[in-house]
């Protein structure tokens, strides 16, 4: 009897041991759910539970910028260099430094006159692709708020920038102009299932708003696009459900946006990639308490009203919304992609959804375009006849950027996060419309040495008289001046930013050796009153210098777009002098009409006449 009993005890030991240690030991999923800011309301479970079964999808999502949209700081995910070096802007300074595992920034206090300083500790981070923003934790009574700190780390540029220099606005000495509160701003679109839980304490005059905010997960995770997972996970826990379809597993299937109808499919991305107001507006109270009412699988427009150019502003700046759109209603700020898609014939008359071009689990995480349809195949999956003879449609070299569908039909005319992005309104270029609505034109974003009437003439020749010749520009700049140059000086800040970025691109039509005039005008734009325009102009000059050097690389590298007015002026004139002295035997001579003489000196009076057209209205477009 002893031997069988011993064997039985040995056989029972393993399951008993495993069960005991699992019930007494730490539970990773429960530990995540117990973290500050995390809720498990509404059937949300968090991505750790999804990973248990969908390891591959989890891994493919983890590498995306969605996954890293909001993070707690740690040695492995803080991108900024906290080395104690000082960051200066508008006469004040910040000093990011590290104390062990803590990331700290020595910043001026909000009372600038007192020149007080304080140490802020980074408690939350937003962004992971272009730049990383830092938030400090503020205890407000028995509640907590996270407030944005005034400097951010630009990942591409590998440098610190002040917040005032990355939004589309003029220089501003107020260091805390963009001290947004995460709980009532970022929480909505940079997290999963946000619940701001703003307390109704507005009656307490002067008191800072209080929040008990929670999210299902920091960042954009599985449940943002597939819906709450608790029911699905519970129903599929049994292998009988998974393998033989027993029980209610089918009813508890996770939502898959690629199987939605067109409207529901674009709703998934549009819940964040489409600036919006609650519909009806009275729902705003729900939003600030329990979050947006849209759930994956719903029709978004039954919950929200997308903000358009003519959307009425209830309080504050009456131009708050209209400034975010070009004159024809096309968005000129990022996070309005939904509006663009909804206005596109490909959506209205076709079957296009976001997933027609984008993939969340495959391909390059930058842009997340479908890898199975590279280049023009994104468009020719529907427009098959064009694919058969590309040159017949584009009248450009089929291998060049002039035959890239998106260059003409989705031009880069959208400002966001110190970059210019593609418009998501898929449409025809139209020089007369663009001249009349002060909108950048697709042709002259590449042909930076050409005018709008030239573009119209080409289009009429190729595609017929439906394209009108522009008779006047909305900014009243002469039509005889190349559009890129006229826009760089006479446009409003958004136009100037778009062309400042465009001129340096490798896809532009003039060879880099044929851009002496563009370089001189970019040098002037480096003195722009808007720091974002200055930075984009400087970057374009550096790109041109890289492709066709004239010996200005060191000078351009040393220019700081955040520097004060005098160093900026010095930089402009040093660059203009450098071009005048060094470009002569390295670059082609300027074309006529480009406001640059044969001596490579700018026609400054003409340039000033153009810049005077900018008007005195300050535009400041928040993102």
């Amino acid at each position: 009897m002893r031997a069988p009993l011993t064997l039985l005890l040995a056989a029972l030991a393993a399951p008993i041991f495993v069960a005991s240690s699992l019930s007494w030991g730490p539970d990773p999923s429960a530990a995540i759910a117990a973290q500050e800011l995390v809720h498990r309301n509404g059937g949300h479970v968090g991505s750790a539970i999804c990973r248990d079964c969908h390891e591959d999808h989890y891994t493919s999502w983890r590498r995306t910028h969605h996954a890293q949209m909001t993070q707690r700081p740690g040695a492995d995910n803080v991108r900024g260099v906290f080395d104690g070096r000082v960051v200066r802007y508008e006469g004040q300074e910040a000093r990011p430094f590290r104390d062990g595992d803590r990331f700290l920034i020595d910043v001026p206090t909000t009372n600038a006159e007192a020149h007080g300083r304080r140490i802020a500790e980074v408690a939350l981070m937003v962004g992971s692709r272009r730049y990383q923003q830092y938030f400090e934790r503020q205890q407000r009574g028995d509640s907590v708020a996270f407030v944005r700190l005034p400097i951010l780390w630009h990942i591409e540029q590998q440098r610190w920038l002040h917040l005032n220099t990355v939004f589309l606005g003029p220089d501003d000495a107020n260091w805390h102009a963009h001290a947004a509160t995460w709980n009532e701003n970022c929480i909505f679109c940079h997290n999963t299932a946000p619940e701001p839980r703003a307390r109704n304490n507005a009656a307490r005059a002067g008191a800072l708003p209080q929040f008990d905010s929670e999210v299902a997960e920091l960042g954009i995770s599985c449940e943002s696009c597939h819906g709450p997972g608790a029911e699905h996970a519970r129903a599929h826990q049994s292998p009988l459900v998974r393998y033989v379809g027993a029980g209610d597993g089918a009813e508890a299937a996770a939502k898959n946006p690629s199987r939605f109808d067109q409207e529901r499919a674009v709703s998934v991305c549009g819940q964040c990639h489409g600036a919006r107001l609650p519909n009806p507006l009275a729902r705003v109270r729900d939003w600030f308490h329990s979050g947006p009412t849209y759930r994956v699988g719903d029709k978004l427009l039954e919950h929200v009203t997308p903000i358009e150019r003519d959307t009425k502003v209830l309080s504050g700046d009456p131009e708050q919304y209209s400034l975010r759109f070009w004159g024809d209603g096309t968005a000129r700020l990022s996070a309005y992609e939904l509006q663009g898609v909804l206005a596109s014939p490909c959506y209205q008359q076709g079957t296009m959804t976001c997933q027609s071009c984008h993939s969340m689990h495959t391909g390059d995480p930058h842009g997340q375009l479908r890898p199975d349809r590279p280049g023009n195949q994104l468009c020719t999956q529907c427009h098959e006849t064009i694919a058969k003879d590309v040159r017949a449609h584009t009248h450009h070299d089929p291998a060049g950027s002039g035959s890239s569908c998106v260059e003409c039909h989705m031009p880069k005319i959208v400002y966001g996060v110190l970059e210019i992005h593609r418009s998501h309104r898929i449409e025809l270029p139209d020089p007369a419309r663009d001249a009349e609505t002060a909108r950048p034109h697709a042709c002259t974003l590449c042909h930076t040495d050409r005018t709008l009437p030239w573009a119209a003439q080409q289009m009429q020749q190729w595609w017929g008289p439906k394209f009108r010749t522009p008779v006047q520009r909305a900014d009243r700049a002469p039509l005889a001046v190349p559009d890129a140059i006229a826009s760089l000086h006479a446009g409003d800040a958004a136009v100037r930013a778009v062309y400042a970025a465009a001129i340096g691109r490798a896809t532009t039509a003039p060879a880099a050796t044929d851009t002496v005039a563009q370089r001189a005008h970019l040098a002037v734009a480096m003195g722009d009153g808007y720091p974002s325009v200055r930075w984009l102009a400087q970057r374009s000059l550096q790109q041109l210098e890289q492709r066709a050097p004239i010996g200005l690389a060191e000078l351009l590298h040393g220019i700081d777009s955040m520097a004060g007015p005098q160093p900026r002026r010095d930089a402009v004139f040093a660059t203009l002098d450098g071009i005048a002295h060094k470009a002569g035997n390295r670059l082609m001579p300027p074309t006529t009409g480009a406001l640059l003489g044969t001596d490579l000196r700018l026609d400054l009076p003409a340039v000033i006449r153009l810049t005077d057209l900018q008007g005195r209205n300050v535009i400041s477009i928040g993102e």
């Binding site: 030991a13 393993a14 495993v18 750790a48 990973r51 248990d52």
Partner: protein, 144 residues
């Protein structure tokens, strides 16, 4: 079967198998029913899988030693000593992996993992000892 060496190896081998096979079954069940507390820790899953695999393989090794141990030569006392080393090593290694996955942190096993290298060293002593005896005996058989 009156020798001590095969007796020690047999008991250890069968007990290891009696423990490790149900352990594998248990782990499969945890996978089948998608038990989050188990699946949530990749390190624990790896350690317990290693415990299951080592337990079974070393159990079989003990049984092989019990069956063929007499052929390696040496005295009964020498083989019994080797069998004890083998048994200790064979038990410590899977036990170390198993305990390493109990109360472990996200990135590291718990302290139980120290039994693994200890068991591995003891196992190697047993195997080298066995090999030495076997080589010595083969030398007797074939002096050339």
């Amino acid at each position: 079967m009156n020798e001590r060496a095969p007796r020690i190896a047999l008991v250890t081998g069968w007990l290891l198998l009696a423990f490790s096979l149900p352990l594998g079954l248990t782990l499969e069940a945890l996978h089948a029913w998608k038990v989050p507390v188990y699946l949530g820790s990749a390190l624990r899953r790896e350690l317990w899988t290693l415990a299951h695999a080592h337990g079974n393989l070393l159990g079989i090794l003990c049984l092989v030693f019990a069956a063929l141990g007499a052929r390696v030569g040496g005295t009964d006392a020498q083989r019994a000593r080797l069998a004890r080393w083998l048994a200790i090593g064979a038990v410590l290694m899977p036990l170390g992996f198993l305990l390493g996955g109990v109360m472990n942190r996200e990135g590291d096993p718990s302290y139980g993992i120290v039994l693994v290298p200890a068991g591995a060293v003891i196992l190697m002593i047993a195997l080298f000892g066995t090999a030495r005896l076997a080589l010595g005996r083969s030398g007797e058989v074939d002096p050339a």
